[in-house]
C-alpha cells in the first residue's frame, strides 16, 4: 500500500490553534472526497487530540504540537498528533469514558471516547516525561 500524499504541521500549544488544526487537517483530507459527515468527524477527533496535548500534555505551558497526516491509496486517512509534554502514566485509565484529571475545570473526560467513536482506529503511545502520540485512522473512500 502506498502513500499518495502527506503533510506535517507544527504549531504552538495555544488554544487559538485548536480551530486552525482541525480546519487544516480537514482541508487536507478533502482530497479523498469524504462526505461532510466524515469531515465533521475528522475535525472533532483532531480537536480532541490537540486539546489533550495543550491541556494535559503541556498543562497550558508552551510547547510544540505536531500533526502528521497521510493519505493512503486505499482511501484511508492516517493522523499522528504528537506532543513532547508530560506524557500519560496510565493510558488505559486515561481512555476510560468520563475519566479526567481536571474535574474542577469542567473537563468532560470524553476526549478519547470521542476520538474512538469518530475515527476507525485510535492508538496511543506515551512515556511519562517524554510526551504522547495519538495515532488515528479513518477510511474515507472505498468503504463498503
Amino acid at each position: 500500500m502506498e502513500i499518495i500524499n502527506q503533510m506535517k504541521l507544527s504549531f504552538l500549544s495555544v488554544p487559538e490553534n485548536e480551530g486552525f488544526a482541525r480546519v487544516a487537517v480537514s482541508a487536507f483530507a478533502v482530497q479523498l472526497n469524504p462526505t461532510l459527515d466524515m469531515l465533521a468527524d475528522i475535525k472533532t477527533a483532531v480537536s480532541e487530540a490537540v486539546t489533550n496535548a495543550i491541556v494535559h500534555g503541556y498543562e497550558n505551558q508552551l510547547g510544540m504540537v505536531q500533526i502528521e497526516a497521510f493519505l493512503w491509496e486505499n482511501g484511508v486517512l492516517e493522523l499522528n498528533v504528537t506532543d513532547r509534554g508530560k506524557g500519560i502514566p496510565d493510558i488505559k485509565k486515561a481512555m476510560e469514558p468520563f475519566f479526567t484529571t481536571q474535574p474542577e475545570k469542567e473537563r468532560s473526560g470524553m476526549g478519547f471516547s470521542v476520538m474512538q467513536t469518530f475515527m476507525d482506529q485510535v492508538d496511543v503511545e506515551s512515556k511519562p516525561g517524554e510526551g504522547t502520540c495519538v495515532r488515528m485512522r479513518k477510511r474515507l473512500r472505498g468503504a463498503e
Binding site: T44, S47, E48, E106
Partner: protein
C-alpha cells in the same frame, strides 16, 4: 452572546464554535445569564453553532449541575448532526431535555 428572557426562562443563542478555546468565554456569559434573579430554565439554542467537541459537553454539564442545584433545569434545541453525535455519546440526552 445573544439571549432572550421570557418569564423564568432564558434562552442563550450559542454562535460559532464551542471548543476548549471558546469554552471559558461561553461559560462566563452563561453564568451571568443564569445568575439573573428568577431564572429557572436555561435554554441553549445551538442553531447558530457550527462545531462542538467534548469541551462543550463540560460547559453544558457544568451549567446543568448549577441549575439543578437551585431547582432549575437546562434544555437544548436546534442541534446539528455533528453536535447531536457528541451530545448523544456523552450521555447528555439522558439528563438534558431536547425541545
Amino acid at each position: 452572546m445573544r439571549h432572550e428572557r421570557k418569564g423564568s426562562a432564558v434562552t442563550a443563542f450559542i454562535t460559532g464554535e464551542l471548543d476548549h478555546f471558546s469554552a471559558q468565554q461561553v461559560r462566563r456569559e452563561l453564568d451571568a445569564l443564569i445568575a439573573q434573579p428568577g431564572v429557572k430554565t436555561l435554554i441553549l439554542d445551538f442553531g447558530e453553532m457550527t462545531f462542538m467537541d467534548s469541551s462543550g459537553i463540560g460547559v453544558i454539564l457544568g451549567r446543568y449541575r448549577e441549575m439543578r442545584s437551585r431547582g432549575g433545569s437546562v434544555c437544548v434545541r436546534n442541534m446539528n448532526a455533528q453536535v447531536d453525535k457528541v451530545f448523544t455519546l456523552s450521555g447528555l440526552r439522558q439528563v438534558i431535555q431536547i425541545i
